[in-house]
């Protein structure tokens, strides 16, 4: 479970999160939506500790992780898998080295790492033939799958996705969404997906909307199109007029 209480973060004068509260239950699949620049990615980075909040508290499985550092922080990384917006694959390493990096750095022999990497690569719907390829030789969709395979190597209980479908064509968007859903169900994980793609509603259980540094709505996705919340109404229909001002 993830519990966020009164989270605040500013960069210079710009306030990003302003007293944000959010609770994500175990095994829940939640989509956090909001306009670009609302601080959705900053929220995710604060959860895993890549960015330190100015104030507020973050709990992961009832443990306050707001100010932990060093080896303690590494323990949190083992629980929380993070899938980056542009996959963030190490461009000097091939797919095998990227996915197996964690084990390889621990000194686990290649012959032991390989079957595990192949297993994860197949789970994300890729052919093991890609293992020798470098990130520059992969398409956007393939990079995101490799990024997910790399995250799955740690068998995390919580999966955080930072705009996983940005820059992809509609067919690949659907494939990635289905893959996220399949991974969520198979691993019985808690999934938090940052997105501004309304297609995510077909897969997520809950939707939360971030606006001006706060969660202005949280509710089930099945009722989303009937929702009378003015922010949701405007956002999902892409209306220029409403409480969300450009």
């Amino acid at each position: 479970m993830i519990k966020i209480k009164d989270l605040q973060k500013s960069f210079d004068q710009k306030k990003i999160t302003q007293g944000l509260d959010l609770e994500v239950k175990d095994n829940e699949f939640i989509a956090v939506i909001g306009r670009s620049g609302e601080g959705k990615s900053v929220l995710l980075k604060q959860i895993v500790g890549l960015i330190k909040p100015d104030a507020g508290q973050i709990f992961i499985e009832d443990e306050n992780v707001t100010n932990i550092a060093g080896k303690e922080r590494q323990r949190i990384f083992q629980k929380c898998g993070y899938v980056f917006q542009f996959a963030a694959l190490l461009d000097s390493l091939n797919v095998f080295e990227n996915v197996g990096i964690n084990l390889l750095e621990e000194g686990v022999p290649v012959k032991e790492v390989k079957p595990k990497v192949i297993d994860k690569i197949e789970k994300v719907g890729l052919n093991p033939e890609v293992l020798d390829k470098y990130p520059s030789e992969l398409s956007g969709g393939m990079k995101k799958r490799v990024g997910l395979a790399r995250t799955l190597m740690l068998s995390p209980k919580i999966l955080l996705y930072d705009e996983p479908t940005t820059g992809l064509d509609p067919i690949t968007v659907r494939i990635i969404h289905e893959l996220i859903k399949k991974t969520h169900d198979r691993h019985k994980a808690t999934s938090l997906v940052i997105s501004h793609d309304i297609e995510i509603f077909k897969y997520a259980d809950t939707v939360a909307m971030l606006h001006e540094g706060k969660i202005v709505y949280k509710g089930p996705t099945k009722d989303i199109w009937e929702c009378d919340n003015p922010y949701i109404h405007q956002f999902i229909r892409g209306l220029p007029e409403g409480p969300i001002q450009s």
Binding site: F77, Y82, F84, A88, I101
Partner: protein, 259 residues
């Protein structure tokens, strides 16, 4: 006007102190990592190989040129006092004590430290460093320590090659262009050179290697602001590293002449 000037001086001083403090903390973290985690020798060797091969040709070229130029200039001055026989020792001492370590450090800064900053900076802006962190990988152990260790280890070798090349080209110019007796050149070196001149130069080179690679890694690691940010960080790392070489050279030389 005066207040503006005071403001500017204050801001610059605070900025400099901030930056110097951050580099110190960064370097301390790197040293701490060296002693508290397993050193990845394979990575250190790969980096040393990369830095050495990349920089060797320019180090030899500039070392040779400096040696040749020094032979020319000292001959011009010493000729007036009929003291041309000292050319060999002057070229050797200058190369071993000063030019070898300084020139090779400047060349390594241009060739390897700049690429270190650009590489780590690109990793920073494309979230590759964040990705390593989320995979529980110690980024200092993985990225920083191998580069700092490799540069510190390889610099004395480059300095030695630079010195040797300078002395050799000084010899060629002295003997074949200035008509100095080859025996005189060699005898002059034998008479005045001490092993301490070489070892001090090598120690200096090692310290330069440590300092410039720390600056290069720090600037890369703290890069922000996209592709433009990588460009700025790379330029700054080269400038800061070069300035550091000269300041450190003075301090180390003063210390060495005292002992």
């Amino acid at each position: 006007m005066i207040i503006k000037a005071i403001n500017l001086v204050g801001k610059t001083t605070i900025g400099f102190c901030n930056e110097a403090g951050s580099v110190a903390v960064f370097t301390y973290r790197a040293i701490e990592t060296m002693f508290t985690t397993r050193i990845k020798f394979k990575k250190v060797f790969r980096q040393a190989n990369h830095i050495g091969i990349n920089s060797l040709s320019v180090v030899l070229l500039t070392g040779g040129a400096i040696g040749a130029i020094m032979a020319l200039h000292t001959h011009h001055g010493l000729e007036k006092f009929a003291a041309e026989s000292y050319i060999g020792s002057i070229v050797f001492l200058a190369m071993a004590r000063e030019f070898g370590p300084v020139i090779s450090a400047i060349m390594v800064t241009g060739r390897a430290v700049s690429s270190m900053t650009a590489e780590i900076g690109s990793m920073r802006i494309t979230e590759q460093i964040d990705a390593l962190k989320t995979l529980s990988i110690n980024t200092f152990q993985y990225l920083i320590v191998p580069r700092i260790l490799a540069t510190t280890i390889i610099m004395p070798f480059l300095s030695l090659f630079c010195t040797a090349c300078g002395v050799l080209f000084g010899y060629i110019i002295s003997v074949y262009a200035l008509g100095i007796n080859p025996e005189t050149y060699q005898e002059s070196i034998r008479q005045y050179a001490e092993l301490g001149d070489i070892t001090r130069g090598l120690i200096k080179a090692g310290i330069f290697g440590f300092l410039i690679s720390s600056i290069g890694c720090y600037k890369g690691y703290t890069t922000w602001g996209g592709a433009k940010g990588v460009g700025i960080a790379t330029t700054q790392s080269v400038v800061y590293a070069n300035v550091t070489i000269f300041i450190a050279d003075y301090i180390i030389s003063s210390f060495m002449t005292m002992t």
